[in-house]
Symmetry: C2
Subunit: 251 residues, 2 copies
Amino acid sequence: MTAKKFSETHTIPYYEGNITNHMTLAMLLNVVILVSEHQNDTLKLDHKQLIDNYGIGWVVTSYSIKINELPKIDQTIKLTTRGTSYNKYFAYREFWIEDESGQELVKIDSIWVLIDEATRKVSPIDAEIIAPYESENIKRLPRLPRPEKLGEDVDASKKYQVRTNDIDFNGHVNNAHYLDWMVDVLPIDFITSHLPVQVDIRFESEVTYGNWVESSVNNVTMADGNVKTIHRITSGDEVSAIATIIWRKIK
Amino acid sequence: MTAKKFSETHTIPYYEGNITNHMTLAMLLNVVILVSEHQNDTLKLDHKQLIDNYGIGWVVTSYSIKINELPKIDQTIKLTTRGTSYNKYFAYREFWIEDESGQELVKIDSIWVLIDEATRKVSPIDAEIIAPYESENIKRLPRLPRPEKLGEDVDASKKYQVRTNDIDFNGHVNNAHYLDWMVDVLPIDFITSHLPVQVDIRFESEVTYGNWVESSVNNVTMADGNVKTIHRITSGDEVSAIATIIWRKIK
């Protein structure tokens, strides 16, 4: 059995892009979450139905993002997703982004859990909720690459306060904002001269409105000339998210 | 002669909305700028053509936004614009946002100038550049309501540093971000219990990457129960933008 795929197209407006004319990494996550939510919606399992009927909601714990080519402003892309497989607590969802000729621009693997909205604890994945996706029930889900841990070596850090507009309809910080905080700590000269080719990000704990977060990074030049940036977002003593991003120099 | 109208539809994704399930004011500006840029594009006068061929670009100096109903997440809206009229230095552009039944949700009046990209000075509006819009050449353009000046009475203020992703392809701060800074300084309880009905905003001077801005506000309860918030964004000693927003309580 292969899980149901769902596709839609999206044209990237200027305000989803940055100074390099490419989509920002945060917007990349926003649009893939949108396509998954649209699939949920067609299967009558959107966030509202999950909360109203089951008191639960899907939350991403990690993404592994392989970028052949970051979509550009004004480009029309085709987004495809499927809820590939699941076990007792975790679900594996894939995303593909293609250009209009069918060339794969981005491939995203993601791991999700169901969270009980009242207790904010992980809830087992009920067959009733997963059945419409025709996901495969398997013991071992694929393991996404674990982002590296930032050590003592910190090249830069900046503090950000969670804003009203960082908060979604559920009162939580939209995960995509973590990537904005991670990327913003890099010098603008670096952003204008490099493009991401791989992003591995893992969310550890939630941040709420008004909290201050600190975004820290260590940059490492790799043997092949690419640059690896190792990121950590903390809120107080807690680690909120970690990520490793590989960048290539724009020719 | 009546100026050419241009329309398109837009469905509001969750990430253009806030905790109240309505589109943010910043995103409202982003989508109207997008429709005007699409009109420019069909008339072969988009930002790239203006810069490449004339070394100039359009910049908004002020908006007056009348909101009957702020568009909601998942709603499909119809956006219409026309470059209504102009004189030697200023152009008047109107925007209309309607719901699917043709009900007017938002009406926006805006005043634009052409800026010389090299000197950042205002450039006279050349007939060649305005002709395709079939705008009316008039002596006196409509005057938009002037936002009130914030006095000594400041109820709240917050500082923000301009981020990489606040900067557009031209290296300038996208005007919409000023509204994010203005709104964010209001308490979240106020945002969840009020909706904007009128926004008058005026841009005074540009802010650049890395600069810190301070967003300050004074709240005034009006005789009719609505709340007026008077906003100022400063960068160092300079005023970058001022705005007056009228809010109604959500019933």
